[in-house]
């Protein structure tokens, strides 16, 4: 019967970071930075037309994936959507295998069969993604069910966008998860748009958590540009789920900087303003955490630059790997299905 509550960020920077280890905070930063740079690399490469699949970038939204996944163990599971790069990477998916997949190569994480919208890395609990809005949400219930039936304390996460709240299966899933007290996190990345449709032409209220969570489970609204806030909310929800307390819905308010699909900016389409984009870019989750960690003395500039250099090398290596990998053999078309 608990009502949704705002997990409001408090006071100054130190307060916010309190109790979190430097290693954890650094992880959060590196995770976001890896996502950012990998996707910026896609932006750079896409015009070459060697990445031949629709790519939905998470630039601007990295804090959600990074924050939630840092609260998980590798044995915990996650499913995602068309916009799945960030979740795959934050969950620990291999960067080489991701780029190879985008390039349609045999060495891709799906052997070239899934492409950008179905990134999968079961070895780290990333179980894949559906490109049908809300389509993967109930799968998280099944993972949780398997965990609880086999007596494991694994938790599973469904990542989805704001439009998923409009899909019936989402509400069915919330109901079933609450009824069976399944260890699930419903993580809604509310980036205010579905393709070019603003939330207000699709939903009657601006917040998703109160409606979706309703009387079923805690519904938490969190600043989705603040990886630490997201992490804290996820940690609470994960602990609750692990202890048999059932599911939580986390709504992270966030923003996609670039067009719905593809590498470009899209202010010219007219569905949103440059001013709105600027406001959100000013809250850049990556640089913001970097500044905060610098100020708090957790991540000095030199160390940060070293880590960033490592990310650069990693991304460059992944691209080289992808480029030099072979395409799948024609016969593989017929494999992986009976």
């Amino acid at each position: 019967m608990s009502r949704p509550q705002r997990a409001a960020a408090r006071g100054g920077a130190d307060e916010v970071l309190r109790g979190l280890s430097p290693a954890l905070l650094t992880d959060l930063y590196v995770s976001m930075r890896r996502i950012r740079r990998a996707e910026e690399m896609i932006v750079q490469l896409y015009p070459e037309q060697e990445i031949r699949c629709p790519t939905h970038l998470s630039i601007g939204q990295e804090a959600v994936a990074a924050g939630v996944c840092r609260a998980l163990r590798p044995t915990d599971t996650a499913v995602s959507t068309h916009r799945c790069h960030a979740h795959y990477l934050a969950k620990g998916g291999d960067l080489r295998a991701m780029f190879a997949e985008l390039y349609g190569k045999a060495t891709g994480c799906c052997g070239g069969k899934g492409g950008s919208m179905h990134l999968t890395a079961p070895e780290v609990g990333m179980l894949g993604a559906s490109a049908i809005v809300a389509g993967s949400i109930p799968l998280a219930l099944g993972c949780a069910l398997a965990a609880s039936l086999t007596g494991s304390d694994e938790v599973s996460v469904a990542f989805f966008g704001d439009a998923a709240a409009e899909q019936g299966v989402t509400h069915e899933s919330l109901g079933v998860a609450a009824l069976r007290k399944l260890p699930v996190l419903f993580v809604c990345e509310n980036n205010l748009y579905a393709t070019n449709s603003p939330l207000k032409v699709r939903q009657v209220t601006p917040d998703i958590a109160p409606r979706a969570a309703a009387d079923l489970m805690p519904g938490v609204i969190v600043d989705g540009t603040d990886a630490v806030a997201v992490y804290r909310a996820a940690r609470t929800a994960v602990a609750r789920a692990r202890e048999g307390g059932g599911p939580t819905l986390i709504e992270a308010k966030t923003y996609r900087w670039r067009e719905h699909v593809g590498p470009n900016f899209d202010i010219d389409l007219g569905y949103r303003t440059q001013a709105e984009l600027d406001r959100w870019m000013a809250k850049d989750p990556v640089t913001r955490l970097a500044r905060r960690l610098l100020r708090a003395g957790v991540l000095p500039a030199a160390r940060r630059q070293a880590l960033e250099a490592a990310v650069e090398a990693e991304v460059a290596d992944a691209v080289a790997f992808a480029r030099s990998s072979p395409f799948p053999e024609p016969e593989s078309l017929y494999a992986d299905v009976d």
């Binding site: 599971t77 069969k113 179905h118 079961p122 109930p138 799968l139």
Partner: protein
């Protein structure tokens, strides 16, 4: 051999499979009910308890997706629906997820999942509770579709489905539930994709689906009385489809009648006809005839139900056409709607 009913065979298969493999769970609307999906799931509930056999909300789409997820994580869910009409609510989860997840992830994961659903017929259940939707599923790569017609096949095919690690849709005609037949007590497995020979004959092959197998047997008896020997094949599994066995039989008889429980146009009978027409080009003695539901929704009135469903008469007539034998004088009038004998409401 011991004779048991079709529904008992399903119950037995479920329990034997569950006893062997603890990954199997059973769920669906009403599975733990006293009636337990017409007696097919209650036994498992009593034997294995509510952790492994449980009732669900009427959230068929989410439950299907939940089963896909559970399958990805090592369970083998058996999801049961009292009517296959309800599967329409779950098409996205079945077609976009269950059937494709393994392929989309390049084979890294598999979806062990068995979905049972019942084909209704009669007693005025009308348009939304009497469909026979196998064609919709048989078209989808990544799914297997079985339609056992006998108690023995129900057990053997269901046990196979429950031992597989990919999605299988098992469609069971409600009118088969009370039929008895010999069923071995021990567990056994009938491979998918093998048609069964129900009756041997040399003049015409009747390939039948599900309850039409029983109607074909009656048709064959009527034909035999006229000296026509029909061979009956029970397709049993639509996907994979055993076109080889069908082709072998038709190569022998030269004539083919296909009898399906679904609609005719764009139905499973079309695929069988297309394959055999191609495989046996020039070797057929007569056009392939299809006996299936007329292309209209199911009417409620018993008077119309009686016109709607083809049966032994239509199958025999189709066979006779293949043999270019004049049809026996047919009374212009249909008999008045009779009360169904072994199946009526309430249910």
């Amino acid at each position: 051999m011991r004779q048991i009913k079709y529904r008992e065979a399903i119950d037995e298969a479920t329990r034997q499979a569950m006893a062997k493999d603890e990954r199997i769970i059973v769920l669906g609307v009403g599975v733990d009910d006293a009636k337990g999906i017409f007696g097919t799931t209650r036994g498992a509930f009593e034997q294995f308890g509510s952790a492994r056999v449980f009732d669900t909300p009427l959230s068929e789409a989410a439950l299907t997706g939940m089963c896909v997820g559970a399958g990805l994580r090592g369970l083998h869910p058996l999801l049961v629906h009292a009517r296959n009409d309800f599967l329409l609510l779950t098409m996205d989860q079945i077609v976009n997820n269950a059937a494709k997840w393994r392929y989309m992830c390049g084979g890294k994961l598999r979806v062990p999942l068995t979905i049972r659903a019942i084909v209704g017929r009669g007693w005025g259940q009308a348009a939304q509770h009497s469909q026979s939707l196998q064609a919709l599923f048989a078209h989808v790569p990544g799914l297997a579709v079985i339609m056992p017609a006998t108690p023995a096949d129900a057990k053997g095919l269901l046990m196979t489905a429950l031992s597989m690690d990919s999605p299988v849709i098992c469609l069971e005609h409600r009118w088969l539930y009370e039929k008895s037949g010999p069923v071995p007590e021990d567990p056994y497995y009938i491979p998918l994709g093998q048609a069964g020979v129900v009756r041997e004959g040399s003049d015409v092959t009747i390939v039948a689906v599900s309850h039409m197998v029983l109607e074909a047997v009656q048709a064959a008896e009527a034909l035999a009385a006229d000296g026509i020997q029909a061979e009956i094949l029970d397709v049993r599994s639509l996907r994979p489809l055993d076109s080889d066995s069908i082709a072998r039989s038709v190569a022998k008889t030269g004539r083919l009648v296909i009898a399906d429980t679904g609609w005719k146009s764009f139905g499973v009978s079309a695929e069988i006809a297309a394959r055999i027409g191609e495989a046996l080009f020039g070797r057929l003695k007569a056009p392939i005839r299809r006996v299936a539901l007329p292309d209209v929704p199911t009417p409620a009135s018993s008077a119309l139900e009686q016109v709607y469903y083809p049966g032994p008469r239509e199958i025999a007539a189709a066979a006779r056409r293949c043999l270019e034998v004049a049809l026996p004088e047919e009374s212009a009038e249909r008999p008045a709607p009779a009360r169904p004998r072994d199946f009526h409401g309430p249910f």
